[in-house]
């Protein structure tokens, strides 16, 4: 009963908050860490462009070599 706001407080004065300030800070920190990790990974990961340009040809070659299934094995 005591948790209910007094009638004269009015609905305009009430503010509902789902998380405690500590939870909100921890969650924001977690999101920040995720974004930093993603940006760092994307910027520093080493992709060799020559291999990337060659990828479609290599994939076609892979499936072309796969195709007639060699049942004799």
């Amino acid at each position: 009963m005591s948790a209910q706001p007094s009638p004269d407080a009015g609905s305009r004065g009430r503010k509902w908050q789902r998380f405690t300030p500590r939870e909100r800070i921890l969650r924001s920190a977690f999101y920040l860490v995720v974004v930093i990790a993603l940006v760092w990974s994307l910027r520093t990961i080493e992709v060799i462009p020559e291999f990337l340009y060659d990828a479609p040809a290599q994939t076609v070659d892979l499936f072309a070599r796969m195709w007639p299934i060699d049942w004799s094995w």
Binding site: E46, F51, Q58
Partner: protein, 278 residues
């Protein structure tokens, strides 16, 4: 007493009662005994055909001892540590990117595979795709991607994306199939379009569980990123493989200890994440 009891009740032999009223608590199970005997015989035959001999075992002990002796103390020379840090950073990048892309792609695939949300043909084709992704170990997928996109971290990332996608969308689809449809109906009754139904009716019900799965997948990708390196997928696995082939066993020990440390850190991180969101 026994006689009185027998005369009062009609004779009704219990299945465990033998002849003469004697009970055997544990009757011999001859079928199981024969099966165990056959298993033991097969184990003997297999050991013999695989050339499992005592002398080889003793010899192996000797070599194992020498191997361990060469591992100690772990190599912490600056140039080796530099290699270690480089490889570990690449492994972390592989794990982070594979997990992020895997999570992003698993959301639509998981929803498409949930039979209570998607029409049956879509659900079954999405399930078939998930089965395809889950049917191979990441190492085998990595071998295919190394051929397709060449050596390096990209092949590892792509292989682990496939693994994450299979695992996460399957678990998401199963979580989605268990949700309560009442909240969905309530949101639908307001005239909300499908995306709003997903965001306000479905997502709140599965999000904590899905975040737990994602944290586990990051942890698992950290471990597997060391594995895909062995077949050319980049990262610490490549460093480990090279060190092993160069007989740098002391450096191998350093790498193994570092991998254990990183995996433990990842585990702690995933426990913290789960606690934060549940």
């Amino acid at each position: 007493m026994a006689g009185v009891a027998a005369s009062e009740h009609p004779p009704h032999p219990s299945p465990r009662e033998g002849e003469g009223g004697r009970r055997r608590a544990f009757p011999p199970n001859w079928r199981a005994r024969l099966a165990f005997a056959a298993l033991a015989l097969y184990a003997l035959y297999a050991a013999q055909s695989l050339d499992f001999t005592w002398s080889r075992f003793v010899q192996g002990f000797d070599q194992g001892g020498r191997f361990l002796a060469r591992m100690f103390p772990p190599n912490t020379a600056p140039d080796k540590l530099h290699l270690l840090v480089d490889g570990m950073m690449e492994s972390l990048q592989i794990a982070v990117l594979a997990t992020a892309v895997g999570i992003a792609l698993s959301l639509p695939l998981g929803v498409a595979a949930a039979r209570n949300l998607a029409p049956a043909p879509l659900a079954w084709s999405a399930r078939a795709l998930i089965v395809l992704f889950r049917s191979f170990h990441p190492v085998i997928v990595a071998i295919l991607f190394v051929k397709a996109v060449g050596f390096g971290a990209l092949a590892g990332v792509l292989a682990l994306i496939v693994a994450s996608l299979g695992f996460l969308s399957k678990l998401l689809a199963e979580a989605l199939e268990e949700i309560s449809m009442r909240q969905l109906e309530a949101v639908r009754a307001t005239g909300a379009p499908f995306l709003s139904v997903l965001v306000f009716g479905v997502l709140p019900q599965v999000l904590p569980r899905h975040i737990g799965f994602c944290a586990y997948q990051l942890d698992s990708n950290l471990r597997n990123s060391a594995l895909v390196g062995l077949v050319g997928g980049g990262g610490i696995g490549a460093t480990l493989f090279t060190a092993f082939q160069r007989f740098d066993y002391d450096f191998v020990l350093t790498i193994v200890l570092a991998i254990i440390a990183v995996v433990m850190l990842g585990e702690m991180l995933s426990v913290c994440t789960r606690r934060l969101f549940q």
